[in-house]
Each structure stands twice: as structure tokens, then as C-alpha cells.
């Protein structure tokens, strides 16, 4: 269960800047959040908002330019790149990627793919290793006796994603970072994977950062949700409360544009006009002000800081929407 007193992961003012000088793009422009032990934090936003870069920076797959990432009290940004300590700590955090087929080597056998982390770290070997691999494959719904010796290329997208999950669990990580892990799958397969993820989270006591663009999917798996726009978090709060009463105008537009599979749902009357500005040249002050109907001069001059509008619900806006519940 969620322990709301002890953050497993503490991220403070994380920045990732690609390129230098005039060509510098700040993909992640100062992001802070906590993930508590046993919870799922959803990270949602449109393409180019920096959600995937945030996920990769946490693993130090891309190098953070500044800020701190504390996992269980150890600051990852202070560890030497490629060093033993970083490699060690990575066993406790694993990542699952969007394209399940390209994230597995097509010419390797499934059981070897799942055993790779164990062989790397030589934690266990021989019979014990084989038993663990079989167990992991059964847990994700792949029969090890029938499929264990097949090659990754012989599986469909949904099955490959199951294999990726089994591989990520081999080292018994505490934190799992899922980057758009179901967006390439058909709905019926997507539902299977989402349910599987919930089951495994409970069984292995996992903490999840779930990055996705699909609002319905994110709400389904998350305890709390953070909304990103142009490299910054504009709103973060408990999933149900945030969806019911968004405080940031951007969140409201985003939710308004989400399509519901219901013929009676209202047709989008208020559509957000235009497109996000380039992250190479972000607007001054509030980054959403160029598209925000409520923007004033204050929004152009001063950057809004995160303020609490309800317990655990923070918004970075000078004029947050009132969140009185219906």
C-alpha cells in the first residue's frame, strides 16, 4: 500500500537541456515531484512536453543538466556515469519502453532475454536461475515450457510487452518506469497488459512511474497524476480529484479534448486553438500563456510557482480554476 510519508523517489528541479547556445532546447525545464513507496504516479502530456525525457533522465539514460534525483536517499546525479554504483542502483529501477518489438532482440530466445539481468549480475545460476525465469514467464502469462525456447521475433506486440515486463522484474526492482508501454497495442490487448501490471504491482510491491499520452489509460492505473506542458509540470494531484476538477486551464482543455466512447458525451465545444510553442524559444512567464484564454500581463512577466489548492493537489497557475466539487 502507499506509504505517503516516505518518498521512494525524490526529484528536485530536474533539467535536461539538449544542445548548446542558440540551439539549446530545454526538454525538461525544472521538474520536481515525489513518488511514494507503493504508489503509481501517472505522467501525462502531449508529444514534445518532455515526459519521456523525464523518464529517461531518471534512469540517466539521458544525462540531466541539473537538479537531483534521490532514490531511497541516494542522489543518482552524483554517481559516476557508467560506474559501479550507478549500475548497482539501476537494478532497483527498471524501465519498460513503448515499442515492445524493437526493445527485444529478435534473434534471442525468450528465456535468455529474461535471464539476461541475472546472468549479468550473476546473482543466481544453474537450476535456481532456470526456475526463476520460468516463474517470471508464468507470472506474465507466457507458458515457459511451450514458449521459453522460442525467439522474440515469433511473438506479437502484446506478448513481447509481457516478456519485457518479465525481464524488468528479474532483479526485483522497487521502481518501474513505464514509458508509453501500451500505446502500440490494440485495446483488447492493452486491457490485458494494464490488468497484468496492476496484479504484478500488488504482488511485487512495486512503485510505478507511468508515462503516457492517453488520459484514460493514465487515470486507470494511477494514484496521482502529473500533467506536463512544454517541459514543466503544470498540475499534480490525486488522480480522481484532478480529473474531476482540474485547476490548471491546460488540464481542463486536455481533458475536454479526450474522446469518450459514448455517443452521449458532449462534442468538443471548447477546443484548444493552435499548437504548443517551440521548446527552443519558450514564452516568458507561464509557458501556457500563449494559448490560455485567461492569460494577463502577469502571466507574461512572472512565472507561476506551484501552489497548493487542495491537500496534495498543486497547480502552477496565477489564476487557477476554482475546484469546488459538484
Amino acid at each position: 500500500m502507499t506509504d505517503t510519508t516516505r518518498p521512494l523517489l525524490k526529484v528536485r528541479d530536474l533539467k535536461v537541456i539538449f544542445g548548446k547556445g542558440h540551439h539549446a532546447v530545454s526538454a525538461v525545464a525544472g521538474v520536481s515531484f515525489d513518488i511514494f513507496e507503493g504508489e503509481t504516479l501517472g505522467l501525462v502530456g502531449e508529444s514534445g512536453c518532455g515526459k519521456s525525457t523525464t523518464g529517461k533522465a531518471l534512469m540517466r539514460i539521458v544525462e540531466p543538466s541539473s537538479g537531483s534525483i534521490e532514490l531511497d536517499g541516494t542522489d543518482l546525479t552524483e554517481l559516476k556515469r557508467g560506474g559501479r554504483q550507478l549500475r548497482n542502483i539501476r537494478t532497483r529501477m527498471q524501465m519498460i519502453f513503448q515499442d515492445p518489438i524493437s526493445s527485444l532482440n529478435p534473434r534471442r530466445r525468450v528465456k535468455d532475454i529474461v535471464a539476461e539481468p541475472l546472468d549479468c549480475w550473476k546473482t543466481i545460476s544453474g537450476h535456481e536461475r532456470d526456475v526463476l525465469v520460468s516463474d517470471l514467464l508464468s507470472k506474465v502469462g507466457i507458458d515457459p515450457a511451450v514458449y521459453g525456447n522460442r525467439y522474440a521475433r515469433q511473438f506479437s506486440g502484446g506478448q513481447c510487452q509481457r516478456i519485457s515486463i518479465a525481464r524488468s522484474l528479474a532483479m526485483r526492482p522497487k521502481l518501474l518506469i513505464c514509458d508509453e508501454m501500451v500505446s502500440a497495442l490494440d485495446v483488447s490487448v492493452q486491457a490485458q497488459i494494464l490488468n497484468l501490471l496492476e496484479d504484478l504491482k500488488a504482488e511485487y510491491g512495486l512503485t510505478l512511474l507511468f508515462i503516457a499520452h492517453d488520459l484514460a489509460v493514465v487515470k486507470n492505473v494511477s494514484d496521482r497524476v502529473a500533467v506536463m506542458y512544454l517541459g514543466k509540470i503544470c498540475e499534480i494531484g490525486p488522480a480522481d480529484a484532478l480529473y474531476e476538477a482540474p485547476a490548471h486551464p491546460y488540464t481542463k482543455f486536455l481533458l475536454g479534448a479526450a474522446l469518450e466512447a459514448d455517443p452521449d458525451s458532449p462534442i468538443h465545444s471548447q477546443v484548444l486553438e493552435g499548437e504548443p510553442p517551440s521548446p527552443m524559444n519558450p514564452p516568458s512567464g507561464c509557458r501556457f500563456r500563449t494559448r490560455c484564454p485567461k492569460a494577463t500581463e502577469l502571466c507574461a512577466s512572472d512565472e507561476p510557482l506551484a501552489q497548493e489548492v487542495a491537500p496534495g493537489h498543486q497547480v502552477a497557475c496565477h489564476f487557477p480554476l476554482s475546484i469546488t466539487r459538484k
Partner: protein, 335 residues
């Protein structure tokens, strides 16, 4: 040749079979439906259900070899099946046009977008260079591209995904088609951009009196934008009816499974999703029974042995193919 004037498109017993190394692959089998003027119909299904092959077959865009098409596609009175490419070319653009899924690959990356619109106008309508340019700028404005006369000279790579899709729509509309086929027009676009494009398609349909076939895997896209829906599974229509009937009074278990397995924004977080086991069948190894039977909770012996044909439900125009249909749940009756 006469055709009922209200029906723009009549598809009758259409089948598309590909010859593959593994044997004949029936991508589309015995599909029949029709489309009224100024109507939007949605075709939904998962990947491999045949929805894209169906829309391409209606257009007459199948490959030249290794494919057999039988049945009939009557488009505004003209038969599309079995006719020559030059005949079909005469209909493309003016009668029917298509918007494809990926706007980056359907535009030429090294040709200015204005030229790509001009091309259609000059070849199909025989316009002069100046007229074509003026019309192209008009079209860019029509699809909501800001400062169209400057964008005329832009390359596709200089535009965002949403803007590129608008250009593709402008090309499709260049010769005022009566039927617009939109194959996953918003897949790959962000939700806010998706809403813009869907609103644009709706608005253009009304303004230009078009009919639209909206092909998608996303039930949310068709829920509020169509009057009728075709649900496809393994190359066949398994249910067809008014949008309201398909969503609220569906009889085919697959339709229900499709609806229930998609997460909804209105549900509380951690709502358990209802799943169907397995995955869509291999079209090379179809059995003689219902294709959905191996995954269906209601399947009986009959389902595995005999394929159900489409049968009429209690509402006019609503049909389903199932031996053991779901009971009628009439919450709110069709209004």
C-alpha cells in the same frame, strides 16, 4: 444505370483475398453496407480486422497482382470493382478522395505543399498555373492553416503533424469529392490536435455536402462523429447499426468486449478492465465457424462449426452476426 439517389455508396458482398506464400488470405470477406449522401459512417476494428483493406478496396487502391476482389462497389452509380485503373482514375479526386493515416509519408517531403495541391488541380481540373495557385491558397485557408499564402511555399517537414494532416485534407478536398475516405485520420496526433481535426472534418462535411467514411480503431473517435457504425472482426462485419444501437444495444459479444476493454476517463482510477483472452485470429487459419468463437465466453458447439450470418436486430438497420447474441438491454430507447 440508375441508382437510388440517396445512396452514394453501395458495397455488396465485397471480398478481397490476397495470394500469399501461406495460401489465400481473406482480408475482407462478404462485406455489404451502404452510405447515404451527407452521412458519416464509422468502420471500427482492431489491427488486422480488415478495415484498412476494405477502405482501400472501395477506393480501388488494391495492388495490381496477387489479389482477387469479388463483389461490387457502386460509387454514385459507377462500379469500381473489375474496372480499369484509368476508369478509376477518372473518379479519384472528383467522386472519392482519401485521407491517409500518416501525413508524413503521404506527402512528398521534398516538394512544397502548395505544389502538391496544385498538382491535383491542374491534372484533374485542367486549371491554369495562376488559378491553381489561387485555389490552393483558398483550400489551405479552408482547412484552417494560418497565413496560407506563406505556407504555400513550405515543405512538409516545416509543418507540425496536425498541420500536415490539414494539408492532406486540403489535397483530398481539391476536386470537391462526394465521398471522403478517412483512414485513421487522427491516429498519431495529440488529443488537442485530434479534436481540432475531427471538428474540421465535421465542419467541412456540412459545408461541402460530402459523405465520410471514418476508419479507426478508436471507439471514442466514432462515438460522437458518426450516424452509423460498422464493427469488423477478422475481415467480416460482425455488427452494424446506428451509433446509438451499437454503443447501447449491441448484441454481438465482440462489440461489447471492444467497448468494455477500453479505459474510460469517466471511470474511477484503478477500475478493473474487462478483458477478452487471446488475440485476433490468423486469417490464414480461419475455421469454418465464427472467427470470434475461440475468444468468446458465450461460444457453443454451433459457433465453432457454422459461421453466423448477419441477422436483423429489433431496430431497423441494426444487424449482428452471432448465434448466441447478448440479451436486449434497452436502457434508453433510440431517440
Amino acid at each position: 444505370m440508375s441508382v437510388t439517389p440517396e445512396k452514394l455508396l453501395v458495397v455488396n458482398d465485397l471480398s478481397t483475398t490476397f495470394a500469399t506464400a501461406g495460401g489465400p488470405l481473406p482480408a475482407v470477406a462478404n462485406v455489404s453496407f451502404d452510405l447515404m449522401r451527407n452521412e458519416t459512417i464509422g468502420i471500427v476494428g482492431e489491427s488486422g480486422s480488415g478495415k484498412t483493406v476494405l477502405s482501400r478496396t472501395i477506393m480501388g487502391l488494391q495492388p495490381r497482382t496477387n489479389v482477387t476482389v469479388t463483389g461490387s462497389v457502386l460509387l454514385n452509380g459507377s462500379e469500381m470493382v473489375g474496372t480499369t485503373e484509368s476508369f478509376k482514375r477518372g473518379l479519384w479526386g472528383t467522386e472519392v478522395a482519401m485521407v491517409f493515416q500518416d501525413p508524413m509519408t503521404s506527402l512528398n517531403p521534398v516538394m512544397r505543399i502548395g505544389k502538391q495541391i496544385d498538382e491535383t488541380l491542374r491534372v484533374r481540373l485542367g486549371m491554369s498555373k495562376q488559378d491553381a495557385k489561387a485555389r490552393a491558397i483558398e483550400l489551405l485557408e479552408l482547412v484552417g492553416i494560418p497565413s496560407p499564402s506563406q505556407r504555400y511555399d513550405a515543405f512538409p517537414g516545416q509543418l507540425s503533424g496536425g498541420m500536415r494532416q490539414r494539408v492532406v485534407i486540403a489535397i483530398a478536398l481539391a476536386c470537391s469529392p462526394k465521398l471522403l475516405m478517412a483512414d485513421e485520420p487522427t491516429t498519431g496526433l495529440d488529443v488537442t490536435i485530434q479534436a481540432q481535426i475531427l471538428n474540421l472534418l465535421d465542419e467541412l462535411k456540412e459545408r461541402l455536402h460530402m459523405s465520410v467514411v471514418l476508419v479507426t480503431h478508436d471507439l471514442g473517435v466514432v462515438a460522437t462523429r458518426t450516424s452509423r457504425i460498422v464493427v469488423m472482426y477478422a475481415g467480416r462485419i460482425v455488427e452494424i447499426g446506428s451509433t446509438r444501437d451499437v454503443f447501447a444495444n449491441h448484441r454481438m459479444p465482440y462489440t461489447r468486449a471492444l467497448l468494455e476493454s477500453s479505459p474510460k476517463v469517466s471511470n474511477a482510477s484503478h477500475t478493473r478492465l474487462i478483458t477478452i483472452p487471446g488475440r485476433p485470429p490468423n486469417l490464414l487459419k480461419l475455421t469454418q465457424g465464427c472467427s470470434f468463437a475461440p475468444r468468446c465466453a458465450y461460444a457453443s458447439d454451433k459457433c465453432h462449426q457454422e459461421r453466423p450470418e448477419l441477422q436483423q436486430a429489433d431496430q431497423p438497420g441494426h444487424s449482428f452476426a452471432c448465434w448466441n447474441p447478448l440479451p436486449i438491454t434497452r436502457g434508453d430507447s433510440a431517440s
